[in-house]
Amino acid sequence: MNSPLLQVTDLAKHYPVAGGRTLRAVNGVSFTLRAGEVLGVVGESGSGKTTLGRVVLRLTPPSAGEIVFRGQDVTHLSRRALRKVRRHMQLVFQDPYASLNPRMSVEQILAIPLQVHEPSLGRADRRSRIEEMLRTVGLFAEAADRYPHEFSGGQRQRIGIARALICRPELLVADEPVSALDVSVQAQVVNLLLDLRERLGLSILFIAHDIAVVGMISDRIAVMYLGRVVEIADTLSLFNRPRHPYTEALFSAVPDLGGRRDRILLQGDVPSPVSPPSGCPFRTRCRYAEPDCAVEVPSLVERSPGHLAACHRPELVLASPLSDVAPLPRLR
């Protein structure tokens, strides 16, 4: 298929915490993102998915590992050197209220990326680019003259997407872009992202905690738990045959109108990433855990072509949403 746009190898982000200990927010994550591909990243809060997105964009420096973007190693680029790369990689935020500067009009907000990356653009050209972009994300051109607080959550998220895409980046990191929105608006924004991906040839790293939403938009999905990728596969393969008990539990958490499935309720919270359990990080909440699971950390192993999972019990047959329930709708 296509050459990788983004290649991440053994990426780690550690934070020092009180008592000389270390919080391992991202702990040895590797994946590739091909041009035009949507890679979903799912996990509970605290799984390190937001940190992963920020580190990939070099908004916070990685502790270890390597990030190769468009064939260039960006792991150790200086702030100054990063500025040139930034126009090709952009970010959409979870909270459309906090991510727009309340003191600036929409035109001012959208003008900044153009001023930074296309300084030769004249005033009138800039305005027409802004209006064009607003129409592209489904807003009126006149929205340029308004302020963020005059818009609804979904509209603001469209403004955030317009800001991210106005310089035509190749990579978009969407960090929970729909979880702050009403369900009806969620679908609109997901459809918008799919549409834009098609039209602009965008690659998206789509981060969310809701595996159903991730399944709608992603070509492939990486499941994260306590800073590690525990399973990564094509969306269909993952939904057909999950290979990790955590993935099974995530599927089981999706609301189900029929109520036929037995719920797998995960006990307790995610363990602290400051003192993760020995061996398999998921074993403390895993219904299939055995004493041996506490011995060593399972590594990601290819179980079928392109389908990797990190579990000590490959023989498990896990429940899937496609086997016993009507398939989750895939948009379009």
């Binding site: 500025r83 970010l91 935020f93 991510s99 500067n101 309340p102 930074v116 800001r163």
Partner: protein, 301 residues
């Protein structure tokens, strides 16, 4: 109005910057703050009187009239009486006000500018630069301001310019701390990260994204700084290290009044009262601005 309180509790935590339309409630809160309104009126009256008053008076501030020495106030030709040289106290008070208020505002401007720059740089870059700057702030803060002021004043020849500089040097630290704290927390906010992801320059991030969102606490700190500067200038001048006679300032008028405290108490009472009025006026104004601009600290209800 009682309906306002519960609905405010349901809203998401106040957005960091009240957007243009939502600034009205701040204005309304400010107008309802009686002490702040009193402070504002007192300051306006003082400024206007000091600016225009001396032109309207028949007496010059340095006009000596030995036949009318120690005139008591509210009788005779001098409204507020006259001093040991027969100079009109009211004119001297207003002229001293020009000096004292000028020093107050200029020192405020200077200290706020210095504080904002240091706070911005320290909060923005953090790391060892931020640590070094903020420990320096702590070090300067640990000197009692009045001793620092007197030490510096003893080293240079006193005058309006030097006293402004010296007062400013002892007053910028609070602003720096406020700005540093705000910048450090705002930097982590999504809109700042968004600007960083776009790749804007550090100057753009600091001046266009962060600074406009911390204007409210800066204005509050600056207002309180005027009061502080007026007080410090008065200290220094009273102790003889500030504005030198015959140029009047509220502080050196008090100094001069000491000798006649029993025989002509009005010479001390009026400058003292004006200093109190100006300082409390600015303090009330600052408190009112704080309450109006930061609804979370609303303690008056």
């Amino acid at each position: 109005m009682s309906a306002v309180a519960p609905s405010a509790a349901e809203l998401p935590p106040p957005v960091l910057a009240a957007p243009s339309a939502a600034r009205r409630p701040a204005l309304r809160r400010f107008m309802r703050h009686r002490l702040a309104m009193f402070g504002l009126v007192a300051i306006i009256v003082l400024v206007v009187a000091c600016a225009l008053g001396p032109y309207l008076s028949p007496y010059g501030p340095l006009t000596i009239d030995l036949r009318h020495r120690f005139q008591p106030p509210f009788e005779g030709r001098h409204w507020l009486g006259s001093d040991q040289l027969g100079r009109d106290l009211l004119v001297r008070l207003l002229l001293a006000g020009r000096i004292s208020l000028t020093v107050g505002f200029a020192a405020m401007g200077l200290s706020t500018a210095v504080g904002v720059v240091i706070g911005l740089v320290a909060g923005f870059y953090g790391g060892w630069v931020g640590t070094a700057l903020m420990r320096f702030v702590d070090a300067v803060l640990s000197f009692p301001a009045i001793f620092l002021l007197l030490t510096l004043a003893a080293l240079v020849s006193p005058g309006v310019l030097t006293i402004t500089l010296i007062v400013a040097l002892t007053a910028w630290m609070e602003v720096a701390r406020v700005v540093e704290g705000q910048v450090r927390s705002l930097r982590e906010r999504d809109f700042a990260i968004a600007a960083e992801a776009i790749g804007v320059s550090d100057a753009h991030l600091m001046l266009r994204e962060l600074l406009p969102n911390i204007m409210a606490p800066i204005v509050v700190a600056a207002t309180l700084n005027v009061a502080r500067a007026i007080l410090l200038e008065s200290y220094a001048s009273y102790l003889g290290y500030g504005i030198q006679p015959p140029t009047p300032s509220w502080g050196n008028m008090l100094n001069n009044a000491q000798e006649y405290l029993t025989s002509a108490p009005w010479l001390a009472i009026f400058p003292g009262a004006v200093i109190t009025l100006a300082v409390t006026g600015f303090n009330f104004l600052g408190d009112g601005l704080r309450d109006a601009l930061d609804p979370r600290l609303d303690v008056h209800r």
